[in-house]
Symmetry: C2
Subunit: 189 residues, 2 copies
């Protein structure tokens, strides 16, 4: 009998696929194992139980989102950068709706990998805001403002809370437009 040849990455990746496949159903170790052609206890060789699997998926998702944001803002600044960041943020969430929720969870301060992934994503946002020359508390307020706007819209959209048929693209564009105006108004330069 040949071996399955699993690694932590393959297990976590498959779990993420299953989660996207049926976002309503609860993710179970049994389902992941079966999908990999393996018995449940074997997963414990690669992942520290269900909590470990969830943690793996969370970090994976945060890294992926952070990378997408970084890609979107390279070579751009100010309003241009904010709009590109906002578009990438929403696009990633729509492509990975089930994983999006994982990216929001506050990082465990004692978990280095988690902290690093979370901070990397946050850095992108702060780098973009740096273009507006905001100092001290103003910078913090602006970061919270932008995060709230992005997360709020995307979270409501992916959870199906926007039920009217009106164009979501336009609503989002207007939201970002307004945010940009506010940022510019707060800007020192």
């Amino acid at each position: 009998m040949p071996r399955a040849g699993l690694t932590e990455d393959t297990v976590v990746a498959r779990a993420a696929e299953l989660l996207e496949g049926s976002p309503t159903a609860e993710l179970t170790l049994a389902a992941v194992a079966e999908s990999l052609g393996v018995k449940t206890p074997s997963l414990y060789k690669h992942v520290d139980g269900l909590p470990g699997l969830r943690r793996g998926m969370m970090i994976r998702a945060k890294r992926s989102l952070g990378a997408a944001l970084a890609r979107a803002t390279m070579g751009r600044s100010r309003d241009d950068a904010v709009q590109s960041l906002a578009a990438a943020y929403r696009q990633w969430a729509l492509e990975n709706p089930a994983q999006y929720g994982l990216t929001v969870s506050a990082p465990d301060p004692s978990d280095d990998a988690d902290r690093a992934a979370s901070e990397a994503a946050l850095e992108v946002l702060l780098a973009v805001l740096a273009g507006y020359d905001l100092r001290g508390d103003h910078a913090i307020d602006a970061a919270r403002f932008l995060r709230s706007a992005l997360h709020g819209f995307v979270s409501l959209e992916t959870s199906g809370a926007f039920r009217l048929s009106a164009d979501l693209e336009r609503s989002y564009t207007k939201l970002i437009e307004s945010a940009v105006v506010s940022l510019s108004k707060w800007s020192q330069s």
Copy 2:
């Protein structure tokens, strides 16, 4: 042996308490039953299993939030109403952080009680926005905008995502201030 004298309301209410008591731990029928001094199967006389319990908590939470918002906006209009609504929204979420997540879930169209509770809360927001005389798509965009801002901030705050020590009150106030400015700019009157 005297009876416990349970009703659906007492069961759901106790479940909500337990959820607030330890938001991390998963809510279990066994825990609810034990907390009520009753065996697990007895709960099925009042609640349709775990899904039914969750549904009950969700509707309860939506109603409570909707009522708080309605109270906050009575006798107010425009910026005054928006600010009062925003404060009430955040306050409710901070007082019921674990239940807050339940209020966001999109209503099941086939569940009348759920739909009614969700729409009642939405009505409050629409009533407030009516003061700005927004027509058609503009009204929808504005509703989405305001909801996104409120939910985004509150959701990030209750999940512990804002880790810097800077004053959250001030950040929220500025967020709402900016939102109000945008609404006024879109207003026809």
